[in-house]
Amino acid sequence: MNKGLSKDTENRSSDEAMIEIIDMHKWFGDFHVLQGINLTVQKKERIVVCGPSGSGKSTLIRCINRLEEHQRGRIIVDGIELTNNIKNIEKIRAEVGIVFQHFNLFPHLTIVENLTLGPIWARKVPKAEAEETAMYFLDKVHIPEQAKKYPGQLSGGQQQRVAIARSLCMNPKVMLFDEPTSALDPEMIKEVLDVMIELAQEGMTMIVVSHEMGFAKSVAHRVLFMDFGQIVEGNTPEEFFENPQNERTKLFLSQILH
């Protein structure tokens, strides 16, 4: 399933950071959700983040495109620092695509309208061109025949693939995935993971919050373990799964792998 998926380090330009997070903190009220996150993601690097529920995984990736605001430290995406400057936020959002656990498709629009909404209104792309792009990406996620349907008429797996295509239509440099398969029935997980693997093969920079260990092993350059708002451990998948260093990582792995 991961044929042709190269994890050679030379394949990614290790001297160029796509995302840099430096000593980043976030609080929800008094609750210290993220406690000093340091993370550098290279261009074309693929990272899988795992960890127990409530450890701050979603919050971390949501900070990267400002769905949540961090309060201390720095986040730099492709050389642009995420500050309160609205221009910078816009620029960063233009480079970062996000896929949610619950798809968040727009139920009142057809699939093709879902895909063209952003390009037409936020980017001022002509309608015909936006539709052409939309069909190209629907083809990529293997559901071109659903273009005229509404999200409610599609299965969960199909909806999530539409959501991926919708993000890709905005031509992002980084894709964030927040547990993209955890709301899906088991038989649909593979079709979504396959699309993500194809995306990886094309060299997309990806941060994936997921507990799909098979996916992590075959796709990730690095697997991170988060607990209590900190990145406790990060390593290549081989090392991470075979030889975890931290006690909490060991405990967590023993729980999810039985």
């Binding site: 959002r93 233009a94 968040n104 727009f106 009142h108 057809t110 909404l117 509404y150």
Partner: protein, 364 residues
């Protein structure tokens, strides 16, 4: 032989006579169980006692074209009160020879409303058509240009006035209500407070007192010599009142939207205005179509409250006919007529909303 067997076989497959057709329907819907049977019999008895009588009164013993005296001798309904006073009831004190003008204005209005029913027509040209139409209607009512005799707005009345107050009242109240609902959800504390204050204050006051305030108290605050048209003041009061209720209904719809919808739109780079216009409002407003239409319907009927500030809307013109000694005592017929007109208005609104809802729910 074979065929015969098959024949009987097929016959057996048909449902028993008692469960289909008229008999089946009657059995299933009117006489299933002793309670429903008794109810059916009681209702049938009641209808038998009333319907023939009402029918006789309205259609057989009734008179349609007599002067008031003829009515007093008739045993049935006196529809003459409507036919004789029709033009006054509909047009009020608008100069008699000029009444083709409000008639034409109403026809333009109905034409535009009818054409606007179809959502496929909601394009730029329709907007221009409405602007042109509004201008023409205003000109027809007011006159003073192109050789049309000027008619003071104090002479406007009857159905055109009711339509003016309700159609413009409702079309202005709706967007205002949506804006108020958005304001109430706003992150700007001052704006939010202002909207809450407005909504709660207006909802705490009956429409009658708003109308009184608009006609009696409000002019006190205006500088000497400046007057604002009475119809306009009533119109504004109706708009402000209805908007507050719309706002609360729309707020309910907005609260039903999941955070994920906002986040998806935001992460695609849509700004607040586009997010609302393209993603949130189309869904939220659709959810609240039924309660919104209830408000619009009751606002339509509430326009008749303008009688208390002496505007001659449809209800008031009818009442003035009734105060004429010749027609005194035929209020039943007059009010039935008015009720039918109001019913037609309300019924087409609720019908249209159902159609709209069906069209918009294709996505679910």
């Amino acid at each position: 032989m074979e065929e015969a067997i098959q024949g009987t076989h097929l016959e057996e497959l048909k449902p028993p006579v008692t469960s289909v057709g008229v008999i089946g329907w009657v059995k299933n819907n009117l006489f299933n169980g002793w309670f429903n049977s008794i109810l059916t019999i009681v209702i049938l008895f009641f209808l038998w006692k009333t319907v023939p009588f009402l029918f006789r009164w309205a259609f057989i013993d009734s008179v349609w074209h007599t002067p008031g005296q003829g009515c007093r001798e008739a045993a049935g309904a006196c529809w003459s009160i409507i036919s004789t006073n029709f033009r006054f009831i509909i047009f009020g004190f608008f100069p008699y020879e000029q009444q083709w003008r409000p008639l034409l204005a109403m026809m333009i209005l109905f034409g535009l409303l009818f054409y606007s029913r179809d959502r496929n027509h909601w394009k730029k040209p329709l907007g221009y058509a409405w602007i042109m139409g509004l201008f023409t209607m205003g000109l027809l009512m007011k006159g003073g240009l192109f050789g049309l005799t000027p008619v003071e707005s104090t002479q406007w009345g009857g159905l055109p006035l009711t339509l003016l107050l309700s159609v413009f009242g409702l079309t202005a109240a709706y967007p205002l209500g949506v804006l108020l609902a958005l304001g109430r959800q706003s992150k700007m504390p001052a704006l939010k407070l202002l909207c809450i204050l407005y909504i709660e204050l207006i909802r705490g006051v009956p429409l009658i007192s708003l109308l009184f305030m608009s006609s009696i108290i409000f002019p006190l605050f205006l500088p000497e010599g400046i007057t604002i048209n009475k119809i306009l003041r009533a119109q504004v009061a109706i708009i402000l009142f209805t908007a507050a209720y719309i706002a609360e209904v729309v707020r309910g719809g907005l609260q039903g939207m999941s955070r994920g919808q906002y986040e998806a739109a935001e992460s695609m780079g849509l700004n607040y205005y586009l997010t609302m216009r393209l993603v949130i409002l189309p869904q939220a407003l659709k959810i609240v179509i039924p309660p919104t239409v209830s408000i619009l319907i009751s606002a339509f009927k509430d326009t008749s409250l303008v009688v208390i500030i002496a505007l001659f809307d449809l209800l008031k013109t009818t009442q003035s006919v009734l105060s004429n000694p010749e027609w005194m005592g035929f209020s039943r017929e007059a009010y039935i007529f008015i009720a039918i007109l109001y019913f037609l208005g309300c019924f087409s609104m609720s019908n249209y909303s159902r159609k709209l809802e069906k069209e918009l729910s294709r996505g679910d």
